[in-house]
Amino acid sequence: MSAVPTHARVVVIGAGIVGNSMAWHLARCGWRDIVLVEKGTLPSPGGSTGHASNFIFLTDHSKEMTALTLDSLVQYEELGVATVSGGLEVARTDERVEELKRRLGSSKSWGIESEIVTPARARELVPYLDDSIIQSAFYTPGVAVVDSLRAGTLMREKAQQMGALTIAAATEVTGLDVENGRIRGVRTDKGNIAAETVVVACGVWSPRIARMAGASIPLTPAVHQMISVGPVPLFADTVGEIKFPIVRDMDTNMYERQHGGDLEVGSYAHRAILMDADDIPSIAQSALSPTELPFTREDFDVQMEQALELMPDILGDETVGIRHAINGLLSLTPDGMPILGETPEVAGLWSAAAIWIKEAPGIAKMVAEWMTDGTPEIDPHGSDIARFYDHHRTSTHIAARTTEGYNKTYGIVHPMEQWASNRNIRLSPVNVRQRALGAVFFEAAGWERPFWYGANEHLVYEYGERVMPRVAEWESRWWSPIINAEHLAMRERVAMIDLAAFAIFDVTGPGACAYLQRLVVSQVDVPVGRVIYTPLLNERGGIVADLTIIRLASDRFRVVTGGGMGMRDRKWFTDHLPEDGTASLHDQTSGMYTVGVWGPRARDLVQATTSADLSNEAFPFGTARVVDVGSVRALMSRISYVGELGWEIYAPMEQGLRLWDTLWDAGAAHGVIAAGIGVYATTGRLEKGYRAHGNELELDFNLVEAGMARPRVKDADFIGRAAYLEQRSKPPAAILSTLTLDDQDSPAGVARYMLGREPITHLDGRPLVDAKGRRSYATSAGSGPSVGRHLLMSYLPPEDAVEGTKLAVEYFGQRYPVTVAVVGSRPLFDPDNERIRN
């Protein structure tokens, strides 16, 4: 075998669907001297691609995954390897019937043609299905089957024809060289390759390869069982691979698809069978391939009976035999999302892992764009490898969450659904008080955050109907009217909100100001003690983050951002640090506690703990000062995400409890309550029209569309400035608006409240589509207790973004009337911000 090249611009490790797609998209993006290293032999090297079921269902509740899937299907079609078969997701239970309606909503939001069909219609489409055991089905005509191995070959060939790609098959990676935190090269059994950029596209082996560089890709190989039965008489005359729609039997976590003369039955119903990447057999040791392990039949027995029930005509036929049965390996991650992007540990080492066939080419395109100029078209925030904190990378956490998550593959997962396993990783210093107050904890980035407090239940009776009680089970799940009661108490009196989960970075050094100036949109060269709220853009003007910055000194700034996005934001900040060392970043997240005190009586409350002058004149909105709160010397920042007078107060973590107690004791006289994140992240901000990253703010939308363009653009250059100026010069294609739900009653007379991501339509159900082809959907939804309305935010085409316009929101298959209440960022509650600025 020939030796490998001694040098490469980029080495892609792994020639499954992901590695092949990466090689091609890098070539397309202008990369040359690409070397694709593969341990196995081509075209089917033995990874998960080789045994994949290769079907592409289009609709996912996640916008990001749907976008990547749709892009992938287009690519497969362009390669000529896709066969459209249609797909049916069938419901056996009442709960699933409802879920399919919700699925239809997601289809409509993301622009996919789907419909709910009757059992009889389902049987017309799939004649071997027993329609008597299903209640309805979700039919998507565009569902397709692809030849992923052929696609890989074609993509390699295209990259080779461009002279961009060298393939080193049967070449095993034995090490990765890292110097000063940067990747330098790849060692193989056929020689070493010097390279400044390396992509790990090794599927189930990715953790093992990443570890060679001291990086971590937190996924685990897990078993997915599949059997193939045949020959099926009904399929005897089929030309090609598939003629009948693929069936997903959602309630049994199984799928059945035609594969030539055979029917393939796959399952996500069995116990989670995890494996260590180091225990995967070698190619030589494997009977079939390293990722096709011996079938463990006892795990499949129950599924067989269920499959038999659904498709008795085929599976009950004694002449149809089980010709193939495997425990196929695939990759599972703690949160079910892929793992993409440059590893935080090693510069130049990229991960493209935990990716399914249905999304691989789209993801490769996105990652290649990301690698080329840092600006992917599709927002990767849900799958960015930088989202993980260290605790996410432990084998205990991975095992716990993947075990819990496996059976959710086809599950009905509530958007607010909480994990049960491996909780209580990161606790606020006031956790003991929270528990005493009956806090119900939701998790964010490992932090346990009170979503509401049981101790506030009495407020529900105090406010009565104003808490907008919910009766429908779905939106009552993971929700409590206490949230709205806490909201009302805050607006009337004062609330303390624990914000321990904030990610906090101090940026220091002579170059700190210039560095931040270049990174963010707002002017940061402000007087010491000023607080800035600012978005961050990428070069294309896409919104990367939004956060606050406090100028602590001429050469010191404090960056405060949400915990959920904290690691990602930190990577963005770290990546852009000046090379001359004139600015440095110190992560204070674990050292700094934050509590918010907001409400009309906030000043009175805090004033009772300090001799400092907290009057509006002495301590105006948008400023920060060090104040002694009792015996705690704290930094107070007068800002608000809930639209009330008050402060975020920062103190060393070990003094957090003391800070809380001091404020709490002083608050007794002012009717203070503890309020949860339900108020902070939903009701408070929605009434104020505050945008949230990941909901309203993502790469898809720009600041002009989000209504966040300020009157002036600072002179100093910053990332995305040119794109931002360009965006400002044109009318926006959509405008973020706040809508009120006019009538929440369903035809059955049940009040229904949307939770977000539902399609916004014309009154007759026609979708709203903007000039860029984007459909309108609810980016957020929640109660507005102080305005007495259920609120939704949505980007609307300019012609519909007119206050007073009547539109509709589709929810579980029903349309509900809504009115455009606010176009742009003006708050619905306290439009002149008098509460904040007093």
């Binding site: 039965v229 040791q285 494997s286 011996p294 079938f295 067989m304 599976l315 009950g316 035999g321």
Partner: protein, 257 residues
């Protein structure tokens, strides 16, 4: 017709064989198990005979509890019942294996329903001892034939055909009861159907503790044959390589002139 078919659980090897650290067994951590290939055909043959002429098929194996998996395999494609001659996992030599099967056959005869036909695979895929069926036949004083690739039963006679040395076939006629060891190729075994698989889970398995009487050969260790270093000469790519190929054939003297 009462048929006994003897099967053996063997690992489904594919790539390279890997041994355990003590070199006394194949490392099967990553391997599935299957019925040894000739025996898969024996089961299929038994089921076909019963399907055509009535009777019942009993599958027997000697091995540890996990070998019930292979008994279920046999029952999934039509064996009616199964007997596990349960061991503690030690590898039994061919003599004691044959003796244990003989005991089981005699027990069945004593119970009043003797077997008319004992079907075996020609040799086990793993140990390749080439003797168990014959030892059983000799002990029971039954006529026998091995290497069978076609079998017909008529009027109490088994007509068995096998490949003859030097080409063609040789045919044996055995009065029943008889021992027949078959080879792959006698039939194409069916795959189990889903209902068959589910039925197999409900069929009975008798467990019998066989008598151990080790006599050898006694394995001391296993090892892999030495691989000779081999250089391959690439004659070319695609159709263009044809002239070079013919040249090489001439050198080897295999081209007819």
């Amino acid at each position: 017709m009462e048929i006994l078919v003897a099967i053996k659980r063997v690992p489904a090897t594919g790539g390279r064989i890997v041994l355990t650290a003590d070199e006394r067994a194949i490392d099967t951590r990553h391997l599935g198990f299957t019925v040894s290939p000739h025996e898969e055909c024996a089961v299929e043959e038994a089921v076909r005979i019963v399907e055509a002429g009535g009777g019942s098929v009993t599958a027997v194996t000697l091995g540890p509890e996990v070998a019930t998996e292979q008994l279920r395999d046999a029952m999934a494609i039509g064996a009616d019942r199964a007997v596990l001659l349960e061991t503690d996992g030690r590898e039994w030599d061919p003599m004691e294996t044959a003796a244990a099967i003989v005991d089981a056959v005699q027990a069945q005869a004593a119970a009043g329903t003797p077997y008319d036909l004992l079907l075996f695979g020609n040799e086990a895929a793993d140990t390749g001892d080439y003797q168990v069926p014959i030892r059983v036949a000799v002990a029971l004083d039954l006529p026998w034939v091995t290497g069978v690739k076609a079998l017909e039963l008529r009027d109490g006679v088994a007509v068995a055909r096998r490949e003859a040395v030097g080409g063609g076939w040789e045919e044996f006629e055995l009065p029943l009861p008889a021992v027949v060891a078959v080879k792959e190729g006698i039939n194409l075994p069916r795959y189990p159907s889903l209902p068959g698989r589910l039925r197999a889970n409900k069929k009975p398995i008798d467990r019998v503790a066989p008598t151990a009487r080790p006599s050898g050969p006694t394995m001391s260790r296993l090892r892999l044959p030495r691989e000779e270093a081999h250089e391959v000469e690439i004659l070319g790519r695609g159709a263009d390589a044809a002239p070079r190929v013919v040249e090489v054939m001439r050198t080897l003297g295999v081209v007819r002139s």
